[in-house]
Amino acid sequence: MNDCRYPVRYRISSRVEETHDTVTLTLEPAEDAIAAFRPGQFTMLYSFGVGEIPISVSGPPGQPLLTHTIRSVGAVSAALCAAQPGQVIGVRGPFGTSWDDADAAGRELLLVAGGIGLAPLRPALLSALAEPGRYRRIILLAGARSPAELVFAAEYDRWRESGAEVEITVDKADARWPGQVGVVTQLIGRAHLDPARTTALICGPEVMMRITARALTAAGLSGTSIWISLERNMQCGIAECGHCQLGPLLLCRDGPVVNFQVAEPLLMVREL
C-alpha cells in the first residue's frame, strides 16, 4: 500500500475539454497505483513545481485508470487543466468519506448537481447504473450556468438509456435551447419524489447545496436522508494539518461527504 503522504506518479492518458474552463483528465499509474477509491472520495493532484489541490474522482470505480474533472480557477488548477497526454502528475489518496455511506439500496436515489458538482456525483451515478434493480429509481437533477457550461453533456442520453431519469436546467439560455431554464430546486417539485423512500446526494456550490437541501426537507425528506459534499482547504488529506476544519469535523477525513443533519448547523456558523 502506498504511503498517502507522498504522491504517486500518474501519466495523463487522455484529456477532454468539457467547457471553456473545465477539462477531464484520465490518468494511468506510472508506478504502483494508489488504493481503489469509492464514489465521492477525492485525491490530491500535484502539478510538479506548481502545487497540489484536492479534486474529487469523477470516473467509474473499480478501474485502474483514475478520472478527474478540473475547473481552472487558480494557479494549480490552471496548470492541471493545461497538462497534456503523456505528462506526469502526482496523485495522493484516495481520501475521505464516500457517497456509499448513504446506503440507498432499495430506495429512490436522487442526485442533485450544480455546475461542476456533477463530477463528484458521476462515480455514484455510474455505480448505480451498473447495478440495475438496486434502486427503485435513479434520478439526476443537474443545473448549470448555461448550456455551454454543462459538463458530461455527451453522456446524458446514455444515462437515460441506462435507466436514469435525467433532468437538466440552466440559469440562462437563448431561445434555441430546447431544455429547461431555471434553478435546479425547481426541478424537485416536478420529480414526483416519494420523500419517505428517497435518499438525496447533493454536490455543487455550498449555497446551492443549502438551498437544495432545504427544498428537499420542505418536500418531506428527513435531514438524515440527505448527503452533501463539502469542501474546505484540504491540504494533508490525513487529518493532521487541520486546515480543512469545519467545527468538529476535519473534512479531509470526516468529509467530503457529510450527512446534512450533521452539516446543517455547521453551515450556518459564519466563522466556519
Binding site: 494549480v76 450544480g114 450556468r145 431554464v181 431555471g182 425547481q186 416536478r190 456550490p205
Partner: protein, 160 residues
Amino acid sequence: MSVVRSELASHRFAVGLTQSQLDRLAAIASSIELAAGTRLFDEGGQATSLWLIRTGQIALDLHVPGRDRLLVETLGPGDELGLSWLLPPARWQFGAVAQVRVSAFELSSAAVTTLCESDHELGYQLSRRFLSTAIGRLQAARIRILDLYAAPSHTAGSSA
C-alpha cells in the same frame, strides 16, 4: 374537454383541496392539448386565463426588437402558468410558448375570481397556492441573480 375531479386531484396545485373544492374547481376547468410551437400569449396582452401544466414544457419569453426572443424561464409538469391576471392591469409581463407537446388544465381568470369571491374558504386556499407559486418564482429569480456557478474570483487562502 371537461375535467373530472380525479384528474385535477393528481395535479400538484390541487394537493390538499377537499373533494367539494376540487369539484368546484373542476367545473370551471377544461383539459387542453397544445402542439409544440403553440403560443399561449404575448407580452402586453390581456391576461384572462391560467393553466395547470400536466405534461410537457412551456417557455416564458420576452421579445426584444432586432434580437432573438429572450428565454426567461421554463415551466413543466405540476407547475402553474399565469399570475398576471391576479392584479390590475392584468396584462402579461412575458410571453409563453409550448416548447413541446403540452397537456394542461385551462381555467378562465374571471371564473376563478368569481369562485374565490363566492367561496372565501376556497378563495383562501387558491390564494395560498398562487402566493406559493409567486414566492417560488421570486426565490428562484434571486438565486439565479447570484450566479452561483460562476468561477470564483478568488479562493481564500489558496492558489487552487
